[in-house]
Structure formats: C-alpha cells, structure tokens
C-alpha cells in the first residue's frame, strides 16, 4: 500500500485513535450497565496505581503480558501468527516446575533461576516446534495447529497434574510447593510498600527479554531475515533465506518467550505448578503485541496498560459490583478488534485530512 501519511501519524496517531476507539466503546458498555465510566476509570487507576500493593499487582500482571506480548510480536515480524502462547506457556510451566522441584531443595534461587529460564524456554519452544515444523514442511496452517495445540496442552497438563504430579492424598491438581531455592524473591522483600503483591524479580528478566527482542529484530542478521520473510516470502527465497529455517527458528523463539511467563506464575507467584495457571494471559499477548505494534517499547507500554486493567479491574469489581472483572476481557477483545482487525479504519479519512486528496490506488499493470 502506498503510504502518504507522515511517520508520526502512522506510528503514533493511528494506534492512538484505534485504542481510544476501543476504550470509548468500553465506556459505552459501562454506561449501558448503568454505571459511570469516569468513576470506573478513577477506581481502576487508583486500584492499579494508587497504592503500593495495587501497583505491585499491576507489575505482576505486566510481567506476564510482556512475555506473551513479545512472543506474539516476534512471530508477527516473520509473518506468523502464534496463537498458541497459551499452550506453550502451560507446557513451559512443566519445565519450570521440574527444575524447581529437582534443584530447589539443594541450590539457592539464583542458581535455580537460570536453569528454570532454560527449562521454561526449552519446554515452551518444544510445544511450538511441531506446529512450526508442520507449517514449514507440510503447509499446515499455523493458526489452526497452534489453537489445536493449546487444547492438547490443556488435556496433557491436566492428565499429568492429576495422575503424575499431584501430591498424594491432595485433591488439588497441583505439584507440591517448591522449596525456597525453587522460588523467586518478591519485590516486596526489597520494597515493603508492595504489600502482599506477588510481583517478583522475573519482571527484570522480562525487561531483559525486551532488549533481547529489540536487538534480535533490528540489529541482527537473523532478525533481518525474519523481517524479510515476514514481508515477502518470495524475496526471502531470492535472498537465499531458508523459509523452513525462519519459520522453525522464529516459532522456537516465540514459544520460548511465551514459556518465560511460567517463571512469573509458577516460580514467582504460586511457587507450585497448578492447573490452568496460564488463565488466558497467553491470549492477552495478542492484544499487547497489536497495541504495541510489535515493538518492545510499545509492548512494555501496552503490557503495563493491560496490567493496570487487570489489577484495576479486580479492584473495580469490589467498588462497583455491577462491573465484574470480565470487563477486562471485553476491553481486551475491543483492543484486539480496533488495534488489529480494524487498524486501517481511520486511515482513509486521515489521508484525506493530511493530503487533501483521494486515497491513491496505483493501477497494477
């Protein structure tokens, strides 16, 4: 598409308009329920940012969303839609739990942590490998296969938790609690103001992954090849880039990043592997990546926004019982709709506004 808009409009104004539209519609939903949207926003913002413990929870959610957002974004750059972050993170939880259970008793956390990172990455990547391989070699649509793998992961994990990993005699489908060496320090251990919030040091690893992704995509040869493939598969082949390699490597990285989420949830928050701990955070990654335009800086901001929504939404449900926590899911859906599927909705009118002429469609001859 020919692009006649100034860069700041393209990169700044349009995403802003899209997200604004999503929030305006969310406001209408609140109005429809019979509550005051402005008051709701105040409650949310206070609940998420207004005091230490709330902010701690916000950061804890943000950590998850940075990981899953990066996972989706990396795949986007290579033109792939990894909708399977949910399953990859779930399986990665197994990797983390195995590391923490076997090393946690003997070693301090700072020795377990790097191994757990490797465990999370390997297990997450492994769950992305088969869909990637099938896409690369047999042309099986990766969107469908990764969806299927989410459900397969859920069945597999329930089976393992109930039949293999469960503590004997317990009713809860979960592993035993990890020993101290298998848990991550909470931020509250350093800054008491965070209260009882589960925010932990995995957030620093999340920020580290942002830097890693930025360098990978825009500063390395592999990133260049991924972007080439993402924009034009024929140009990639021409340039001697192997599609199989790019699809597989990209999905491995994406799956590994999604898997990192398990560090925050399993090793950080719960300190044990639980049934359904991913709880849809993998899917939030789609909204975060779309809103953050697949750029690490954008992803951090979008993840923070969704962190605020998740924490603020929980508080809001207390303050205004008519607005349940499910409001967040609605907002999430609307953000995906407006920032993703309808991303070009405002473009024609903006082109008119900025160039005072009709949108140009070049004849294809």
């Amino acid at each position: 598409m020919k692009n006649d808009l100034p860069r700041w409009v393209d990169m700044g104004l349009i995403p802003l308009l899209n997200v604004t539209a999503a929030f305006l519609v969310s406001g209408l939903v609140v109005l429809f329920i019979g509550e005051n949207p402005i008051q709701a926003v105040q409650e949310m913002v206070f609940g998420a940012l207004g005091y230490g413990e709330g902010f701690g929870f916000t950061l804890y959610y943000t950590t998850n969303f940075i990981f899953t957002g990066l996972a989706v974004a990396v795949a986007f750059h290579a033109g792939l839609f990894n909708i399977g972050g949910e399953g990859q993170a779930y399986i990665a939880g197994l990797g983390v739990a195995l590391v923490c259970l076997s090393l946690g008793e003997t070693f301090p956390w700072w020795l377990t942590f790097p191994v757990a990172i490797i465990g999370a990455g390997l297990f997450g990547a492994a769950w992305a490998l088969i869909p990637a391989w099938l896409q690369a070699t047999r042309g099986s649509h990766i969107v469908i296969t990764t969806i299927m793998f989410n459900f397969i992961a859920a069945s597999l994990m329930v089976y393992l938790l109930v039949n293999v990993l469960k503590v004997p005699g317990s009713m809860e489908p979960a592993t035993a609690r990890f020993a101290d060496g298998g848990t991550l320090p909470f931020l509250r251990d350093i800054i008491p103001a965070f209260g009882y919030s589960p925010a932990n040091i995995s957030i620093f690893w999340a920020l580290g992954c942002c830097v890693f992704v930025y360098i990978l995509i825009w500063r390395t040869r592999l990133g260049y090849e991924m972007r080439t493939f993402g924009f034009s598969q024929s140009a990639a082949v021409y340039a001697g880039i192997s599609p199989t390699k790019i699809i597989v490597v990209t999905m491995l990285i994406s799956g590994a990043l999604a898997g990192m989420m398990a560090l925050n949830e399993v090793m950080g928050q719960a300190q044990k592997l639980q049934d359904n701990f991913v709880a849809g955070y993998g899917f939030v990654g789609i909204a975060v990546a779309l809103m953050g335009r697949s750029h690490p800086v954008g992803i951090v901001l979008a993840a923070l926004l969704f962190g605020i929504l998740y924490q603020g939404g929980a508080e809001l449900a207390f303050a205004m019982p008519a607005i349940s926590r499910d409001m967040i899911v609605v907002i999430q859906g609307l953000v995906i709709l407006f920032a993703g599927a309808l991303e070009h909705m405002f473009r024609p009118s903006l082109i008119k506004l900025f160039t005072r002429s009709e949108p140009v469609l070049a004849p294809a001859e």
């Binding site: 939903v29 329920i33 019979g34 839609f81 909708i83 088969i130 869909p131 099938l134 047999r138 042309g139 099986s140 649509h141 969107v143 469908i144 296969t145 969806i147 299927m148 793998f149 459900f151 397969i152 069945s155 597999l156 329930v158 089976y159 039949n163 899917f283 789609i286 909204a287 779309l290 019982p321 008519a322 607005i323 349940s324 499910d326 409001m327 967040i328 899911v329 609605v330 907002i331 999430q332 859906g333 609307l334 995906i336 709709l337 993703g340 599927a341 309808l342 991303e343 070009h344 909705m345 294809a364």
Partner: protein, 324 residues
Amino acid sequence: MEDFLIKLPLLLDSMIRLSVPLLFAALAGLFSERSGIFDISLEGKMLGAAFAAAAAAAVMDSALAGLLAGILVSVALALVHGFASISQRGNQIVSGVAINFVALGLTVLLGQAWFSQGGRTPQLSPDGRFGELTLPFATQLADVPFLGVLYEGIISGHNILVYVAFLMVPLSWWVLFRTRFGLRLRAVGENPAAVDTAGVSVVWLRYRAVIVCGVLCGFAGAYLSIAQASGFTKDMTAGRGFIALAALIFAKWKPVPVMMACLLFGLLQAIPIQYPQISLPGIGIVPGQVMQALPYVLTVVLLAGFIGKATPPKAGGVPYVKER
C-alpha cells in the same frame, strides 16, 4: 462386555446430544469459510447466542423468544466479523480472536449486571426451554428388539433443535450445491474476481454468507443454554467452537462429512461420560483426557497431510481487493 452393550444406547444417545452444537457450529463455519471468510469466532458467536437465548428465555419465559434473541446476537457478532473482514479488509484471524474475547467478557459482565447470579442466568422454567419430544409410537415400539431400541432410545426423545440440526445437513448441502446462492458462495471462496467480473457483488455475497453463519451459530448457542441446559453459565461453550472448527477442517469443508466428523467428535466426548473406566488391552485404562484431546490431535494429523489432504477454499482468509 455386557456392560458395554447395555450402555451402548446411552452412549449413542449422548453422542447425538453432544454432536448437535458441534454440527450447528461447523455448518455455520462451512458457509463462512466456503465464501472465503475464515472464522475462528464460532466459539464467541455461540457463547453470545447462548447467553442471549438464556437471558431472553428467562425474561420472556419463552424458548422461541430465546432462540430468536440468540440468533440476533450471533448475527450481530457475525456482522462485526464481516465488517472487519469484508469492508475493512482486516485480518480475519485477529477479528475472530477479538470477537471471542468480547463475547466471553460481555456475556458474564451483562449476566452479572442484569441477574446478579455470578454471571449465570436464572434457572429456566419448562416453557423457557426446548423440551424433549417423544416421536410417534416410540413408547409402543420400545420393546421391539434392536430397531425399537434404536427408535425409542436413540432417535426419539430429543428436543426439536436436535432434529433441526440434522435436517440442516441435507439443507446446507442443497443450498450450497443446488442453488444460485450456493454456486456463487462457493465461487467467491475460490476466486472472488471471477464473481466480480460476472457482475455479482463480492461484498454483499460474503455478508450474506457470514449472516448465515451467524444464524447457525445462534442455533448452536441456544441449544446449549435453553435446550441441553436450562440457563447460561460462564464460558459454557468450553471450546466447542474450536472443536466444530476442527470438525469442519476434518470434513474438508463438505456438509455430509461435517456431520460425520461432528458425530465422531461427539462420540469422543460421550465415551468418557458413559465409560469412565474404559480400558484397552495392553494399554490399560485410557485417561479421559485422551478422548478430550483426540479431536484436536486428529485434526492436526489431517492438517499435516498424513491422512488425505485438507485444502481450504483458495481465497480463504484473503480480503478481496479489486485490481487487474
């Protein structure tokens, strides 16, 4: 073995019950995807319809009103998908994901706001539900060996939507392969430019396809909340939209195979209910999770091209841009 035989009618009966929502949804997907609009929001549309049907049926105490409300909401969501995919030429996968979330969130949010029962809708009275029909002579014939059991125990005794669902199979086939609408719809999913140059509007055709998809998803949702159950509960579709999608792919986008796939996947859901302790020689007890995962595993295997080849409609997922 004896236990197996005694339970067999029950198994087949629950297979039918469980395959109905899959069948409605998969046929819905058939119309949409055959027209070139990929739809992973079958789940969301079903869920929206289930909620709307239960809410309307509870308020108006009428199953029919419930069904209509379900269809209405499902069509509205389908039109959102259509607007994003057809008019705005957006990414169809992204739009589908969005609709699933909006439906998941809104149903519980509104349910809580309106009924204050933790996202549930009120328990329905018999008038608010589609009750079970006893087909003529079913009780009289119940004692006839085999055929009587088949008729009384398996074919009779379902609610009207079950019969509608199975009637939809030949009807869908007829519409798709024997009517002008069907011819054009299949054509637009393969080569929209051919339809456009033949003087037929691609946009309007695809909108009609997604509306049909919405109507059928409306039936699927209503079946869940006001026929099978008697009220809406949070996330009551529980992934059925995706199993339906799997069935659609498994059936290679053809109506009669769609029914077969839905019955198969319904059977896989019914087995752990009827035979919780099923065991296979040499393997031992088969965990229920294997049955749960099997539809997805089978679909992946099919997609991988190891058993036949699933070729989706050629223009599927690609927005139509007029060019030459």
